[in-house]
Structure formats: C-alpha cells, structure tokens
Symmetry: C2
C-alpha cells in the first residue's frame, strides 16, 4: 500500500502531511524490524524476506521488478547457501529522457541490545526526532527515500522527469558477494541505457548537506613471520631462539613514524598534489574540530587545523595496524613464544596510487627491513585486498544538479566532501559500466553507522526525500548529448 496514494493530488509540499509522514515512518519501522544481517547465515531467511519486501514495495508502485539470482555463498564449512537475490526495478523507459540507476542495500550490520544499545535495535524507536534502529541510516531509510520519491511523482500524477532504475542488494555489509559478477553480466542489458548511477550509502559531514565526490581505496596486507614449528614455553626456551614476535614488531614499527608519516618508500610520492583550488574547497567545508575530537574521545588529533585533518582523512593515504593473529590475545597472562604470527595492516589508497604498485613497494620494503635483521625466521607478505580509490569531477553536470537541488531544498550550498572509507561498488560501477556516478548522501554526520545506537533523524529522512525529488528534476535539465 503506497504511502501517498490515498492523498488528494495537491502541490508537492502538501504531500508531506501528517498522514503521509506517519506512513513513511511506519514503512521504515517495518523494514528495520526485519533482522536482515547478511553476516549471520542463521538470519538468511530474514534477509530473503527483506529482498521480497523491497521487490513488493517497488512492484506496488508499478515498477517492472526482477529478482536476480546471483548464485550461492560458500561457507567456511564447505557448504553453500543461496545468496539473497538482487532486486532490480524500472520505472519508465522513455528514450528521450535520461535514465538514472539508484544503488542501495537493505542488509544490515549485526546488532544486539547487550552490545550497548539504549533501545531494542530492531524496534525503530523515536527519541526526540531521531529514529533509532539497526539499518535505519545504513541503508534502509535512504533506499525508502528513493522509493518515496517515485511514489511522490506518482501521487502527484506527474510523469517521472527521468527514467528510474533501482539496483538493491543484500550483501553489502559483508563485501557485496556476487554483485560484481551480476553487474558485469548485465552491463549490456540492464545498464545499457543507464546514464547516471546514484549512490546514497553515506552521510553528511556536519549539519550542512553534502555531495560526496571521492572515496579512498584500501590495500590490506598480511605479514607472516614463522619460526619454530610449534609454540614454545618462554621460560624453557626464551633466550635460545629469535622470536617471531620480536621480528614482526620490528618490521611493523618501520611502517609509520610516531607522528603518522608513512615510511614505505614511494607511497607518499604517488599521491596527487594538493592544489590551491582543493585547499580552498577544504577551507570552505563546515567541520567542527572540537566536536570531532570529543566524539572520538582523544586528547589531540593528528593535525590541529581543519584542512590538514580533512585532507588526511580523505585524500592522503594512511597506514593502520589492525592486530596480530597467532600471538596471545586473551586476557590474563601466558608465557608463550608464538611460533607463527601474522601482522595485519592496511594502507588507504588515494589518487594516483595504484594497488599493484603499492603491493610491490610494501613487499620489497618489508623484505629489505627484515633482511637487515638477519633473522633465521621466514617472512611472507601477502596483499589480500587491493581496492582502488574512486574520485568524481565536482564540476560534472551530475554534481551541478546536486548543488542546485540542495540549494532549492535546504537554501544552502552543499559541502563537497569525500569518504575516508572504501565503497568498492562505486569503483566497480565505474570500471564495468563506465557510467558517471554521484554519491548523494542524506544520512546525518552522527548516525552511528556500524555502531551501537544507529539512527536516522526524521529531518534527514523527510528532507532527504524532498532532496531526491528535487534532484530528479535537476537531472532532467542536463542537456542530453
């Protein structure tokens, strides 16, 4: 039952009356109630149910809906279970109009009340206008906001200004298993007439609306040092063997300086120069350093001015050491010499770094550092993820349309921002379909994605829907080439 169909056809603004709003919240509430946690295979029926709900919703609005089988997921125990189907939908196929494809996902991160949630995570709860629930902001409300957008045009009995396609998946939180193959398979069918791809799977930086034009990639490394053939008692054997942990700590310590400077030769040199225009753009961004510091709970940030801080968050590489597998990691004490230890670290990628080059640089550097130790142990360096960064042109008409829509709905200029994290699907879309992509977020800066007490504010949900309605109108103005 579409939320807006029962309303009289009135001008756009009157669509958002109390009855419609209640209906919007109710739909989000129903979606959040489905525990569509893609990381927990025991929740797979819920996830399938979520894909069906999504398809039903799109179908009820008259979309041409398909549920695309993307095959099986192999489990660690060797068994296989079906992946959630990808939902595609199409509204309109007027060749004189642009065609946009909305990407989104309806699976969620795990959540349990006892992790520290103030409310039941799958029971959407309104506290002071914030709607708390797992998946509310990531990514169920944005997907619904796009569906409400189609609904709004329908309720107004207005033709959609552009053809609208949807591609909604259910495995995003665990790495979009099966999606790339599906995109490749449908490059010359589903994607053939698509002009633009819109992703609304991110958030603003502050209370000011934003357009996102870049994400960092990521190269994830394992550095494995192996020595004795089994763990040894440190009392009995300590002093007679060069311990793998000592070697591993030693080489990990050569990755970054205390102040955060990357020491691997060639990495910093590959970064695109920070231009004056870029500096000015960063300067204009609304960002509260004190608030950020307080939110993280640190005494000092790595940089104490806004431009440097944001630049190192978005457009410079970083090394993070995540942990060590194989060493003693429990509470308490254990007098062990671990025989084989694997250090795990990753390097965020930015233009013009290239994962293949980074792999070579890191591997050669660590082996050279290790060789100097003259250790009898052995080192193996592996890059297990090599995701490229993604960067859009903020002067592109897709972005100009975004700026215009934001100005109309919010009466402000948007912040032009990047994401420090990686959204691999953006890069996949770009590489496979060669279409232009925009990230048009409506999530709040403090929505707590992947964290306890995730929320979506009523304000962002509803004003975000209005933004999407306006955005389609602006995209329609782009001159067709």
């Amino acid at each position: 039952r579409p939320c807006l169909s029962m309303l009289k056809l009135e001008p756009l603004r009157s669509l958002f009356n109390p009855t419609a709003l209640t209906c919007f919240y109710q739909t989000l509430r129903e979606w959040v109630a489905v525990e569509s946690d893609s990381s927990d295979v025991s929740k797979r029926p819920e996830l399938h149910h979520m894909m069906n709900l999504t398809a039903d919703k799109l179908r009820s609005l008259g979309g041409k809906v398909e549920m695309v089988d993307i095959g099986l997921q192999e489990l660690p125990d060797g068994k296989s279970i079906p992946l959630p189907k990808v939902v595609t939908a199409q509204f309109g196929e007027d060749p004189s109009k642009h065609t946009v494809c909305i990407y989104g996902h309806v699976d969620v991160q795990p959540a349990k009340k006892e992790d520290g949630w103030a409310t039941e995570p799958y029971n959407l709860t309104d506290i002071n206008g914030n709607l708390y629930g797992r998946g509310a902001s990531d990514n169920k409300a944005p997907v619904l906001a796009w569906i409400h957008t189609v609904e709004a045009y329908k309720a107004l009995d207005m033709e959609l200004p552009v053809n609208v396609k949807f591609l909604i998946e259910g495995m995003e939180e665990t790495g979009s298993n099966g999606l790339e193959a599906m995109i490749i398979a449908q490059r010359d069918t589903f994607f053939l007439d698509v002009d633009y791809i819109i992703i609304s799977d991110c958030g603003w930086l502050s209370r000011r609306p934003a357009l996102t034009y870049g994400t960092r990639g990521n190269c994830y490394f394992f550095a494995e040092v192996e020595g004795p053939k089994q763990d040894l008692h440190s009392g009995v054997y300590g002093g007679t063997v060069i311990e793998p942990m000592t070697d591993l700590i030693g080489i990990l310590d050569t990755l970054i300086s205390p102040s955060g400077k990357i020491l691997i030769p060639g990495i910093r040199e590959a970064v695109a120069p920070f231009s004056d225009e870029e500096w000015k753009m960063y300067q204009d961004i609304e960002f509260d350093m004190e608030n950020y510091k307080e939110k993280l709970g640190v005494k000092d940030l790595m940089y104490n001015n806004k431009v440097d801080l944001l630049a190192h968050r978005w457009r410079y590489p970083t090394v993070s050491i995540h942990g060590i597998e194989g060493a003693f990691s429990a509470s308490g004490s254990k007098t062990v010499i671990p025989a084989k230890v694997t250090g795990k670290f990753s390097i965020r990628q930015v233009p013009n770094m290239d994962p293949a080059t980074v792999k070579k640089q890191v591997t050669e550097y660590l082996h050279s550092v290790f060789a100097k130790r003259k250790s009898p142990n052995s080192l193996k360096v592996t890059m297990i993820i090599g995701a490229k960064p993604w960067l859009a042109d903020t002067q592109h008409s897709l972005y100009e349309a975004g700026k215009e829509a934001i100005k109309k709905v919010f009466q402000v200029e948007p912040d032009l921002i990047r994401e420090g994290g990686t959204i691999p699907v953006a890069r996949t879309f770009q590489d496979v379909t060669e279409k232009s992509i925009i990230m048009l977020p409506i999530g709040g800066f403090d929505d707590g994605l992947h964290s306890q007490n995730e929320k979506m504010s009523r304000y962002n949900y509803i004003e975000g829907t209005k933004l999407f309605i306006a955005y389609l109108h602006e995209v329609a103005q782009i001159k067709k080439v």
Copy 2:
C-alpha cells in the same frame, strides 16, 4: 595394596622383579586415568578424587597422613569452590635422623585427543617402553617413584635411613593457589623438623641424569596504550588520530635488538658475572645442539655454541613478547583502529636481578620512550607477576649426596643444570622455611611436558625410583649439625 608387600624380602635389586614392575605400571596407569586437570573447574571432582587416591596410597604404607584444607578458589563469575586439599604424610620421626620433605603435585595440564595426541591422553599406553599419558612425567610418575621408595624400604623390612615427609598438592599447574599460605601457616609445625626439601618436578637435559640447581624467575608486564574512547573504522577515521597500535608497536620495538639484546637500561648490568668455573661447568654438560634445533624446528639458534646457548637459556635474562590484547586477532581481515591495546611481555629473572628494580627500570624506560613519541594517547605499565629466580649451591652436601647417588645407580657423573622456566614453589620454600632445597629430576629430556604426547619412559620411572632409594641412603650420610 602396596606393590612390594607381597614379595619375599630379598636384596634390593631383586625387589624390581616383573611382578613388582607390572604393579608399578598399573599404579601409574590408575593415576593417569584420573583427569585431575586443575585448570578446568568441571574436573574438580576428579581432582579431589586424585588427592584421596594419593592420601590412601600413603596411608596404606603406614604414613601419618593429613589432608590439609587450604580454602576456596574464587572463580571469575564470583562463585567459590573448594581447592583440592594438600596431602601431607610423615614416615618416621626419629630425632637422630635427618628429615626430608618431598614436594610433588598430582594435578595435570589439560589434554584432549584432538589436540594432536597419538593415543588417548588419560589411557596410559606403552609404545616401545615409553608410557604415554597426560601427567605421566609431570608429575605423577615422580611422585609415585618417591612412594615406591618408601615402599621399597618397607618391603625390605629396613628402617628408612631418614624421616620422610610428603607434601603433595593439586593446583601446581594453575599457580599453586593456596599453597604459599599453607606453607607459611605450617612453617613452625610441619616444617619445623624438616632439614631438606626435595623437588622432582623437572627433567634431565639429555640422556645423562642431572641435578638442577637453579630456575629463572619471571617479571610479566602489561603495557596498555589507550586512545579513542571506542574502536574506530580505519577507513573513516584513519589519518586523523594517532593510533594506539602504532604507539604500542613502537614502544615494544625498543625492548630488544634484532639479535636478542635487551635494551632496557640497567637490566644486563644487574646479571651476576659469568665466572670461569661456571663456564667450565657449562662446557662439561652433555647437550646436543643439532637435536635441539631440530626439535624446535628453527633454521638457526640465537647462539651457535653450547655454552652461550645454555647460558642464555638458564642464567641470562630474556624478553619475550607474548601478544597484544584488544587488537584484531582473528583470522581474516578487519578494518579497525583498536582503541585500547595491551602489549604483554615478560622478562626472565636471574641472579642478581630484583623484580622490584626491574619493575622500576621497565616502567621508567617505556614511559621515557613513549614520551619521545609525543603521543596524545596514554600509557600504563603494570607488572602483574614478579617471581624471583632460585639458585642453589652445587657444593652443598645435598648436591654432593645427589652426585653420589647418581654415580651409584647410573655409573655416571650427573649434569649440573638449571631450568629456564620458573618453579615458584622452590623460591617460596626457600623464603618461608629457610631450608635447603634440591631439585632431583627423573623426567626425560623429551617427555613433552605441557605438550601433546607427554610420556615417561619405563627406564626413567624405574631407574628413577632406584635413584631415590639410593639418594635417601646418601642423605643419611650427611653429618648432622
């Protein structure tokens, strides 16, 4: 039913006839069958049963046996369960004779077939003269060998040449919970007439019998670096905060050089000089470097000559880094910036190091290294264990008696060795009772203590019993002062 009581009284050597030997093995088999794992509270009834078996055995030989209540064990969940009682026994109280106290334990390390045992760990299995089973060498066979010793004198209808006391505990493998308080409480009662304490809870270095005259102590440290108030996503936040892992890796890397040299000022200076006599003693020890290297499965040892290697195993300090709590330690990849990480390392203690001084040296050094990093994170250094080393005088009459007994039974001079690990009870006995202590091992060098496929050879079990019989005779020759 004592093993030797049914035999005719014959000369000592004829005591060890096939019937007696079968009975000895059978007793060890019964003891190993009891899963007296002190670390697993669900096995507590088995452990209590084991203490009762021990008491019964000693009582059956006419000992004055007591089961000493040492109170409760507090569990992590706040509940308490009774500790296994300590079994004490006394054979003879002739004030004209010396009194020895035999210390041993009948609890064991955990063991499961699926950990990689070739046989059922609690089903003693003879393979080529080796008796495989958990606790066989550590410490059930040695305790039984001492009981058989008393039995032998009884079977021969000979008076024990010294008064013999037993102190057998059931919590050794988890830190001898409750024992120190018991020793302190009985210092002026049970221990009043004790002259010498004998510990047989260790092993030889090679196939040559050995006397153990030293153990290293251990100072165990936690270095906790704390930054953000919660774990952060490394994509979203990497580059804006100084990561606690970077700091921790940085300070851990300043503890030891690649070749194993301890870099903490003052530590190496405190070590007692290596004398020429000591050097000569080490030179005489039978030790197969190639075999040791092969057993550990390393390409090279830290030192490539016997004296340096053994000296660094026994009489020099070592730093071992055991692991990091709070970082990512599972398999796979996780893009996390851990908010609070605790590095765990320990420094083996030797004469003349002092744990209180070491604590100060390590704490000050790490704080000074950390201060140079100018990190906004905070560091907390804690010493959670501070166990002193133990060292005996190898010229002491207790050791001379040992050399004599070994010569008589094995026709060789013993190796004079140390243990790299810590046997805290030795130090406790010394500090509380001020009695002289000897470690008189009968375990083999390859018994696999704490490991899969622990074993005791028939040879060591039986010849070890003969050694103990001879040793009591030698101790009786020590001039009473």
